[in-house]
């Protein structure tokens, strides 16, 4: 499974600084964004960006295509909504509960799914996620087609009133930034390097003495937990957890976001999530045409645009840098 990815920009000398620069620029942009954009839209985009980044951790760096990440996103949304609304827990505990349950689900589903590879892995995750969907459809606490509505946002640590949209935005932004930092650190850690090694050549990683299954399972669990965090956050932002969140189409959507932005790039999932959330906003009035257009984007991406937007940009930078250094007589 060596072609399902793009090299990370960090692997090129000099681009690591570029990545840091982009991180700072994005942070500044995110801080002032509520003055120019509708905060609910921004929060939705941030939730999906985290969801996609979590998914990308698994596909882009572990080479594992999960087609069932909606189970963690939606499952956690239900848990967070339930404990906040019915049990009256504060929002921070709601997020923790959602994330924890998603992590446990990830551990179980991952434990089963890593027994198969490639296409079968994708089908197993899809099927197990569908099982979660049916559980959500039939369980009492999820309220079937209605979902859990009117979830109170509550007060963070009893101090910050999150029902204020701007406060909520910065709350979401901080959590997103922390989670994204965690993903960034994971990618660049020794653990992340081993994951990439497994992605590139699994038998080789085994022969080097790595317990490949442990790495895969840990990556799967971490990815599921972070997807759960995104889902719990989404439940608080929209004050709603519904069947849409656990549907297989949601799993497809996060795949598409990552693919459009660039599989295996740091910023790709963010870019992809923003583009698709924006698109959905503008196309909402056209009903099922959104599905058709998403399908078209899938087809176009697979046929002609496999590196995604960020992947193509990174390629461009790499090429111009390569030209410059070879033009300068191999300066370094």
């Amino acid at each position: 499974m060596s072609t399902m990815n793009v090299e990370t920009p960090a692997a090129i000398p000099g681009t690591s600084n570029l990545t840091k620069l982009a991180l700072v620029a994005l942070l500044v942009l995110a801080l002032v964004a509520p003055f120019g954009f509708y905060p609910i839209f921004l929060m939705k985009a941030l939730c999906f960006a985290l969801f996609a980044a979590a998914f990308n951790l698994l596909l882009g760096y572990g080479g594992l295509l999960s087609f069932g990440h909606a189970a963690f996103f939606g499952g956690a949304a239900y848990i967070a909504a339930h404990v906040v609304k019915v049990l009256g827990w504060p929002p921070e505990l709601g997020l923790i509960a959602g994330t924890a349950v998603a992590a446990v689900m990830g551990l179980l589903i991952g434990w089963l799914a890593i027994r198969r590879q490639g296409i079968y892995f994708a089908m197993v995750t899809l099927a197990l996620a569908q099982m979660i969907y049916f559980v959500a459809l039939e369980a009492k606490f999820t309220h079937g087609e209605d979902g859990i509505q009117a979830v109170p946002r509550g007060k963070f640590l009893g101090l910050l009133d999150l029902s204020d949209t701007n406060t909520m935005y910065y709350f979401v932004l901080v959590i997103f930034a922390l989670a994204f930092w965690l993903i960034y650190r994971t990618i660049n850690s020794p653990f992340g390097q081993v994951l990439k090694a497994i992605r590139e050549n699994e038998p080789r990683a085994i022969s080097l003495g790595y317990r490949v299954d442990h790495y895969k399972l840990l990556a799967f669990t971490l990815s599921a937990a972070l997807a759960g965090l995104a889902g719990s956050m989404k439940a608080l932002v929209f004050q709603l957890a519904s069947l849409t969140d656990v549907d297989w189409r949601m799993s497809g959507q996060v795949v598409l976001m990552t693919l459009v932005g660039g599989v295996g790039t740091v910023f790709g999932p963010l870019v992809g999530a923003f583009i698709l959330v924006t698109m959905e906003n503008y196309l909402a009035q056209f009903g099922s045409w959104v599905t058709v257009i998403q399908g078209l984007i899938f087809v176009i991406c697979v046929l002609t645009f496999r590196k995604g937007i960020v992947g193509e940009i990174a390629e461009l930078i790499r090429r111009t840098k390569g030209e410059r250094s070879s033009g300068g007589g191999g300066g370094h």
């Binding site: 060596s2 569908q130 009903g287 058709v292 399908g295 991406c301 496999r306």
Partner: protein, 296 residues
């Protein structure tokens, strides 16, 4: 009527028959998936959407052209199969050299497009298809249960189709080419056989199987744009359980799981939607390669 484990026999056998019918569709669809995967190395996510197209084909022919059940049973799979050939020519053949996962993503995109278009024109509620020919109407009282003829016909028809496919692939000259090309396409090409055309036609054939299942399903279920995505994920689980190595495996696990699902409806209805996934989880624990699969 003799109750068995406190379940009236009528209900028990009624559900078993329903299970057999669902199993027929699982078998036909996983058979098509297995045939396609064997040669193309692609998991056809669009299989459910094409099954739905088959059902819609029959419905549209009746609605606008007045074409009845029997012609539709042949025409609809032919048309949808031809559409499959177009899909292969236009899209799939471009990605054979890439990682198999891209095939899944591409056909997923195609499934979204097809389903979205049908939803756009026909909504999600579904249409009734009442064109069962007189020959298949009514039913027999077998004493222990009532057997509607059409339902019996679906089981028989799908067994015939499955057997025909098995025979064509395992016992004919053409089938031997196909099996050879599955093992080693380059070598078969070197013997002067047009492998790319064979791949295209194989995809068309697998798609036609799905469409035929769709026509068979049309009088039983509502013809709805969502009928494909409802069934395809279950079929994926069936494929994981059976393994995609053999035709017999696909058929046996299709029918078997349909029966298990039917039984679950009798004894523990709450779990009937999830039982196949639970079976899949158990199979993954006990025999990760699938019941009929070779070790990956």
């Amino acid at each position: 009527m003799i109750p068995l484990l406190n379940i009236p026999t009528q209900i028990l056998f009624g559900q078993l028959l329903l299970g057999l019918i669902n199993g027929s569709f699982y078998a036909l669809l996983s058979l098509g998936l297995a045939v396609i995967f064997g040669l193309l190395n692609i998991i056809n996510f669009a299989h459910g959407a094409l099954y739905m197209m088959g059902a819609f084909g029959a419905w549209l022919m009746l609605e606008y052209l007045g074409i009845g059940y029997w012609p539709a049973l042949i025409l609809s799979p032919l048309l949808v199969g031809a559409f499959g050939v177009l899909l292969e020519k236009a899209f799939l053949h471009r990605i054979y050299k890439l990682d198999h996962l891209y095939g899944l993503l591409l056909t997923f995109g195609l499934a979204l497009i097809i389903e979205g278009l049908f939803r756009n024109y026909y909504g999600v509620s579904g249409q009734a298809y009442d064109a069962v020919p007189d020959l298949l109407k009514g039913g027999y009282n077998l004493g222990f249960m009532f057997l509607p003829i059409y339902r019996g016909w679906v089981v028989v028809a799908s067994l015939i189709i499955c057997f025909g496919t098995w025979f064509a692939i395992e016992r004919t000259k053409l089938g031997s080419y196909l099996r050879a090309a599955t093992e080693n396409p380059k070598l078969v090409q070197a013997f002067g056989i047009n492998v790319p055309r064979m791949i295209t036609l194989t995809y068309g054939f697998g798609v036609a199987l799905a469409a035929m299942a769709g026509v068979l399903a049309a009088p039983i279920y509502h013809v709805s744009p969502l009928m494909g995505s409802d069934i395809i994920i279950v079929v994926f689980a069936v494929v994981v359980i059976g393994g995609m190595g053999s035709i017999v495996g696909a058929v046996v696990s299709g029918f078997g799981l349909g029966l298990i699902e039917g039984m679950t409806k009798v004894f523990y209805p709450e779990a009937s939607n999830t039982v196949i996934f639970v079976v899949m989880a158990i199979v993954l624990l006990v025999k990760p390669a699938g019941l009929f699969g070779k070790a990956a």
